[in-house]
């Protein structure tokens, strides 16, 4: 005998068949994020914490919405989205809000948001649509050139902001699309090879502070007070956490503000310091499950489009995790990449949630087809 609640019955069709692993990981990460943001910003009033909770709620709603939009429809309007977000990127350059020396923000109806973050999804959609539409040989050299141009334009605009982090994230995204689109391995190697060969040229075009970051990454002690400060302090924070950590909101490094921008880019250092190796391990495991579940969805999906999309989104999420944690523990140079779902920030949370929503949808479409 079950009690029938009419509303839930109707609603059921919007939330059934969600991927449980993905969902649980998402919720766990939100909890961890709330705890970390609270600890990292406790001294400066709780408006950060409250705002972050609002972003989580909003993000969750967005995730549910995108879990209910067939991803094929997204692919269908990919070109329009691409044009729209390109315009927004140009708008950012023309009249964007400046924050920490970079123009990344756009104020829309009182909300600040970063079009470059959304561009990750949009570029993936546009590329996949291109591959799907050109049925004969999507990976002829001519087509590859066109696709690189398609992805290159937004990358150039984002670099101009300058937001090197987000533009770098687009590169593994493109590779993931090519890879799961079954591009011949030979061509993939050629592209990778040329890319690596081009690196010294790219270095010449970097801004001074970006070059400095790379030099500092190689030798943080060269400038311990200036550019090397972030790396050294966050490493001290992580290392001093030990096995069990110093306890929630008791990290000396974070509470005494030795860690820079600790509630966004360096939130991992806060967690490591306060929850120790154990906490870090659990966090990494949650992320690992999330990513592996994403890859499982890639495997399950029967359509090339879905496969590519799921692979692209999973790759971006993973690269964000890897680069952010890497820079927190001194394995990667410092770039402004946030830790998915843990870092404070509206756009960052929203975009990850939308990505997870799309992944959920790909999974639900698969289940639907199986049924």
């Amino acid at each position: 005998m079950s009690i029938k609640i009419p509303f839930l019955d109707v609603a059921r069709r919007y939330y059934r068949n969600m991927n449980p692993v993905l969902l649980i990981c998402t919720i766990l990460l939100m909890c961890a994020g709330a705890a970390a943001v609270y600890s990292a910003t406790g001294t400066s009033g709780n408006q950060f914490f409250a705002k972050q909770l609002i972003w989580y709620a909003l993000g969750f709603i967005f995730m549910m919405i995108f879990a209910n939009i067939n991803y094929n429809n997204l692919l269908a309007v990919a070109n329009w989205l691409y044009v729209l977000f390109m315009l927004l990127l140009i708008l950012v350059l023309v009249m964007g809000q400046t924050s920490l020396g970079a123009q990344r923000w756009l104020k829309l109806a009182g909300f600040q948001f970063q079009p470059s973050e959304f561009m990750k999804i949009v570029v993936a959609l546009a590329l996949i649509r291109f591959i799907l539409v050109s049925q004969r040989d999507p990976f002829s050299w001519g087509n590859i050139g066109k696709m690189l141009l398609l992805a290159g334009l937004p990358i150039a605009l984002i670099i101009k902001q300058p937001d090197l982090g987000t533009s770098i994230l687009l590169i593994p995204l493109i590779l993931a699309v090519f890879f799961m689109g079954n591009m011949p391995a030979k061509k993939l190697w050629v592209i990778l090879g040329t890319g690596i060969a081009m690196l010294p040229v790219v270095y010449l075009f970097l801004k001074d502070y970006q070059k400095q970051r790379i030099m500092v990454f190689l030798n943080p002690q060269a400038d311990p007070l200036g550019a090397g400060y972030n790396i050294i302090q966050s490493q001290i924070a992580v290392g001093s956490g030990g096995f069990f950590g110093k306890g929630w909101a008791h990290g000396t490094q974070s509470q005494l503000n030795f860690i820079p921008i600790k509630y966004t880019d360096f939130i991992y250092a806060v967690i490591s310091e306060e929850f120790g190796f154990l906490g870090t391990l659990i966090l990494l495991l949650i992320y690992y499950f999330l990513i592996m579940e994403g890859l499982k969805i890639v495997k399950l999906c029967k359509f090339t489009g879905g496969k590519m999309l799921a692979a692209a989104l999973t790759t971006v999420i993973f690269m964000q995790i890897f680069i952010n944690i890497g820079m927190n523990i001194g394995m990667m140079p410092v770039t402004g990449i946030t830790l998915p779902l843990l870092s404070y920030g509206g756009t960052s949370v929203l975009v990850i949630m939308i990505m997870l929503g799309i992944l959920q949808n790909i999974y639900r479409e698969y289940v639907k087809a199986e049924e």
Partner: protein, 607 residues
């Protein structure tokens, strides 16, 4: 059939391929995660105790050691600005908050410093805003006296968060000498931090040049700040100094100013209690030898603690002691402008030097009378006589023949209406009127009366003393002017020259050489002959040429002016003197010029 089969095998191959590729991705991800875990394991478990110690020792405070600014010398390496040590007391809010009784702490600090406790707590509250900066010291008082220093040092044991740092402070050897040229230093203002020059380079509390040379050459004078790493206990009390990065002193500046001449000129103005300007330069290079602007102010009042009372007194003073009259004061050029008018008239063949005009002491345009300074009139006046006697009516008539267009052209040619580009802040350009200018600014047409006033350098036309000095220099150089400047060389402490100011030509007159010769001859007569107005500047055995000026002004007595150069052949010095409300140029300014020339050519040469 075969095609379908092929298709199926193709598909199977593809799906197998993508399965392999997903697995590859999975392995890559796993490898990366393992790498992260390994690194975390290494940092947190293997090196954990090392980093833990670092974190505990991370009560390391970094304290800025401000770099000393470079010295400023005169052209003979007489020091004008040097540094003296001074001590600054700061509080670190984060640590200060750990004091059990903050009010008592405030009270005892305030008692030592003779301040109001509320003032200190307000300073702390103001700079406290974003919690992120709680570890940044808040400056409470600069330039502590020795007694304050020793009392505060005792308190460091009982009050947490007290920091005393040593800072070099500017010391001006001669108090007010060349105060306008040197300028003073002070904390950077909020507005300044936004300007391109300082944006991103300076932080609140940094000392920058706020006027004069200190401001213009701030980049050269300031050095690179050093840092001191201090180990503190958990409450922020200083335990030991771990490491020090020595600050780099700024570079030294050698000015073109000659201290002896500057001092002499200032004393001269003080002797009669005159307000005004004494400007001297070497016309061959544009080097400013002295720049006096009276009244002036004591620079040492601006060093360390600015005395608020003293500051208010300066601001309220109607004579504006803070204004550098030499480049920021706008005055009618007066009769010295007749040099430009006369050259223009001859050069454009409006008159010849032999043409004579009758001066009856008064000149009527319709019903308006325009008087000559000599009420009885000069009679028939030719060019030489007109300049030598500075006959106004002669120049009225010349000016009316030239019309405003030509007057405007020659005013601009002689550098009026445009900044000279001297290395001082806040230079003004002045006004050179024209028909359009008047229509735009006054909404009235140009009248002949305006031309008449302009031709004797009065009315709408105005310029800085420096521009008028340049008119004199152009004659001294027979047709060109070098850009005036104050910086001679930049040196390091060992007096090795790092940079030299490159002399530049500011303007070149488009005037025939014979015209210039005629004007120079007339200027010689102004001083050397009994007929001239500038006879009182004569110096035994020295050839001087000059031009007097007397400017009427509504505020009171006339301004007295005198511009001159010497010697006649290869002039070495061009001089301009302005005495506000002094009276006649020939009576008041010219004698001063005589004394300065005598000092420059005789007393200074003897030593």
């Amino acid at each position: 059939m075969a095609r379908v089969k092929e298709d199926i095998t193709e598909r199977m191959k593809n799906s197998y391929k993508s399965l392999v590729r997903v697995k590859t991705l999975g392995w890559i991800v796993s490898a990366c995660v393992v790498a992260l875990v390994c690194r975390a394991f290494y940092l947190q478990l293997i090196r954990g105790s090392y980093y833990d110690k670092l974190a505990q020792d991370n009560c390391v405070r970094v304290i800025k050691i401000p770099a000393a600014r470079g010295y400023i010398y005169d052209r003979n390496y007489t020091p004008l600005v040097i540094n003296k040590p001074s001590y600054t007391l700061s509080l670190v809010p984060y640590y200060f908050d750990t004091n059990p009784d903050k009010q008592q702490a405030y009270n005892s600090i305030a008692g030592i410093l003779g301040m109001d406790p509320a003032e200190i707590s307000q300073k702390m509250e103001e700079s406290k805003q974003p919690s992120e900066f709680n570890l940044t010291p808040v400056v409470i008082k600069r330039d502590l006296s020795e007694k304050e220093l020793s009392l505060i040092t005792e308190k460091k044991i009982t009050i947490a968060g007290l920091f005393v740092t040593q800072e070099p402070k500017r010391w001006y050897e001669n108090n007010s000498t060349a105060s306008h040229v040197l300028g003073y230093t002070g904390e950077i203002t909020a507005d300044q931090m936004k300007i391109g020059r300082y944006a991103g380079l300076r932080r609140a509390g940094d000392i920058v040049g706020q006027g004069g040379i200190e401001n213009v050459y701030d980049d050269i004078l300031r050095g690179e700040d050093g840092a001191m790493y201090i180990l503190t206990d958990a409450k922020g009390r200083q335990k030991e100094v771990i490491n020090t990065i020595e600050p780099k002193t700024g570079k030294n500046l050698v000015l073109t100013i000659d201290y002896r001449l500057q001092k002499f000129a200032e004393k001269l103005m003080d002797r009669y209690n005159y307000n005004g300007v004494v400007l001297a330069s070497d016309p061959r290079t544009g080097e400013i030898l002295c720049m006096v602007s009276k009244p002036d102010y004591n620079l040492n009042n601006f060093s360390g603690n600015i005395d608020v009372k003293e500051w208010k007194k300066l601001i309220r003073n109607k004579a504006n002691p803070l204004t550098n009259r030499a480049v920021q004061g706008l005055y009618s050029p007066g009769s010295i402008f007749k040099i430009a008018v006369g050259c223009g008239a001859l050069n454009e063949n409006v008159i010849t030097s032999d043409d004579s005009f009758l001066c009856e002491g008064i000149y009527w345009i319709k019903t308006w009378p325009y008087k000559c300074w000599k009420r009885s009139g000069h009679g028939w006046v030719n060019f030489e006589h007109g300049v030598a006697q500075s006959c106004d009516i002669y120049f009225y008539k010349v000016g009316l023949k030239m019309k405003v267009e030509l007057l405007n052209k020659y005013a601009l040619m002689f550098g009026m209406g445009e900044k000279t580009g001297i290395d001082l802040p806040g230079e003004k350009a002045g006004i050179v009127p024209s028909r359009e200018w008047k229509r735009k600014n006054d909404r009235t047409p140009w009248f002949p009366g305006n031309t008449v006033m302009m031709s004797i350098g009065q009315g709408y036309i105005s310029g800085t003393p420096l521009q008028i000095l340049d008119i004199v220099s152009s004659m001294a150089n027979s047709g060109y002017v070098m850009t005036p400047h104050l910086m001679k060389v930049v040196t390091n402490d060992a007096r090795r020259i790092l940079r030299t100011y490159e002399n530049k030509e500011l303007l070149r007159l488009d005037v025939k050489p014979e015209v210039i010769d005629k004007m120079k001859d007339a200027m010689r007569i102004v001083v050397q002959s009994g007929r001239g107005t500038g006879g009182k500047s004569r110096v035994e055995g020295l050839g001087i040429a000059g031009k007097t000026g007397t400017v009427q002004n509504p505020q009171g007595e006339n301004h007295a002016m005198f511009g001159a150069y010497a010697p006649l052949n290869n002039p070495e010095i061009a001089l301009y003197i302005l005495v506000e409300h002094g009276g006649g140029g020939g009576d008041v300014a010219a004698p001063l010029a005589g004394e300065i020339f005598e000092f420059y050519f005789k007393t200074m040469r003897e030593k």
